[in-house]
């Protein structure tokens, strides 16, 4: 971000709700990756085909089960 953009952004942050003072700024490439994902595609209704799911359902998480904090 160049200095002028940063100055403008700071000015805007100061007149918006306070949560805007803690904005997260990320490189645009990360957003582009998401945009290319099928989940976020610009969908229009005229497509064919549908997803067939064959994998079994996972077990239901038991609220009394001890939660593991690792993968």
């Amino acid at each position: 971000m160049d200095k002028e953009t940063k100055r403008k952004l700071t000015e805007i942050q100061e007149v918006l709700p306070i949560v805007f003072r803690f904005m997260t700024v990320e490189k645009l490439t990360e957003v582009a990756d998401i945009a290319n994902d099928e989940q976020f595609s610009r969908s229009t209704s005229i497509n064919t085909g549908f997803i067939i799911r064959t994998s079994p359902s996972r077990p239901i998480f038991n609220e009394h089960e001890e939660v593991s904090h690792t993968n």
Binding site: M23, S43, R58, F61, N62, E63, S68, T70
Partner: protein
């Protein structure tokens, strides 16, 4: 016939539900807000004082044929014109186009007022603060909150409990040249409050819940499809969305069974809001208390559908067909 009202960007849910409706030979049409300003001739319409009609790819559809409306997403697409205008009159033109679109939308919804609505038009203006109060009236535990423009008031609130701040409504992002600026729920400690000016734009401060994990619930016709979002590793982010892209921290997503009493309270809440379908965010604390955080009547559900293998897009398609009278429960099963 089912009418799906949607948007052509950022809504893969409509697309996936539409695919299942086609597979199940459902009688439906999907129209995106953008279609209403289309000038290619593919889609035209007339809204008279007493009648209305769509013409889609040469086929006329009278409003009398429509029996059910699923208001999935909606918004003003007119900015595609105003963005091109620029200059000092852009604000005036934007305001004008907003009003034109609002008037058109209100009349469209008025013409469809006697149809069965899956997600009522009021959902488009859902108010998070009112929803919190309504949830509390249904017996759900909610985080304490206040909206203020005063640093002094904010300090007093924060002295009673750990706090967070977030937007009152919804905010997506600001596009910069090669970066994007986003807003998440943020922790608001005494240090951060001290640095604020005495008075500022109205802001929400809310009690921070010491969560053990979050639960995202997709609600459909009185049934609940819940996903536990369990932080792993050194994940201490207040907002789970921030954990998605950070190295070394992540969330585990698992199907989750809600306690019956909580389901009862959620159903009571949904009866008051009138939402057939919506997404609800909950948090569960280390002492086992569930907190209602917010409801999103048009929330995205595909991510949780795939994580937990719930197949929600198929369930929504089946629900629409049943509500529209095109199928009965026995035949679907």
């Amino acid at each position: 016939m089912i009418l799906i009202l949607s948007y052509d960007e950022w809504d893969s849910e409509s697309e996936h539900v539409s695919r299942w409706l086609r597979k199940l030979n459902g009688d439906f049409i999907r129209l995106n807000a953008n279609d209403f300003i289309d000038q290619s001739g593919r889609f035209t319409y007339t809204f008279d004082n007493s009648n209305a009609e769509f013409v889609l790819n040469g086929k006329a559809i009278n409003f009398e044929e429509i029996t059910t409306v699923w208001l999935r997403r909606w918004g003003n697409p007119s900015s595609v014109f105003s963005d091109q205008l620029g200059g000092r009159n852009q604000n005036t033109l934007n305001t004008f186009l907003d009003r034109e679109w609002e008037t058109l939308t209100q009349y469209l919804f008025y013409l469809l007022r006697d149809k069965k609505w899956i997600t009522p038009p009021a959902a488009l203006t859902d108010n998070k603060l009112i929803s919190l109060v309504q949830a509390e009236m249904s017996g759900l535990q909610i985080p304490q909150f206040t909206v203020t423009n005063s640093k002094d008031r904010m300090q007093k609130f924060a002295s009673k409990s750990k706090s967070v701040t977030k937007v009152l409504s919804n905010f997506q992002y600001v596009m910069l040249e090669d970066e994007v600026a986003s807003v998440f729920t943020e922790e608001l400690d005494t240090m951060r409050i001290r640095e604020l000016p005495e008075y500022f734009y109205p802001s929400l401060i809310q009690e921070r819940i010491d969560k053990r994990y979050e639960v995202r619930v997709f609600c459909l016709g009185g049934d609940f499809y819940a996903t536990a979002v369990v932080p792993t590793g050194q994940n201490s982010e207040v907002d789970i969305k921030k954990a998605i892209k950070k190295e070394g921290i992540s969330n585990r997503y698992m199907p989750y069974r809600l306690p019956l009493e909580l389901e009862f309270q959620l159903r009571d809440f949904l009866n008051h809001t009138g939402y057939d379908t919506c997404s609800i965010d909950l948090m569960r604390t280390t002492d086992g208390t569930y907190y209602f955080i917010e409801v999103n009547p048009i929330g995205k559900f595909m991510f949780y559908s795939q994580c937990c293998n719930y197949n929600l897009e198929k369930l929504v398609a089946e629900y629409l067909l049943i509500e529209d009278g095109q199928r009965n429960q026995a035949k679907i099963d």
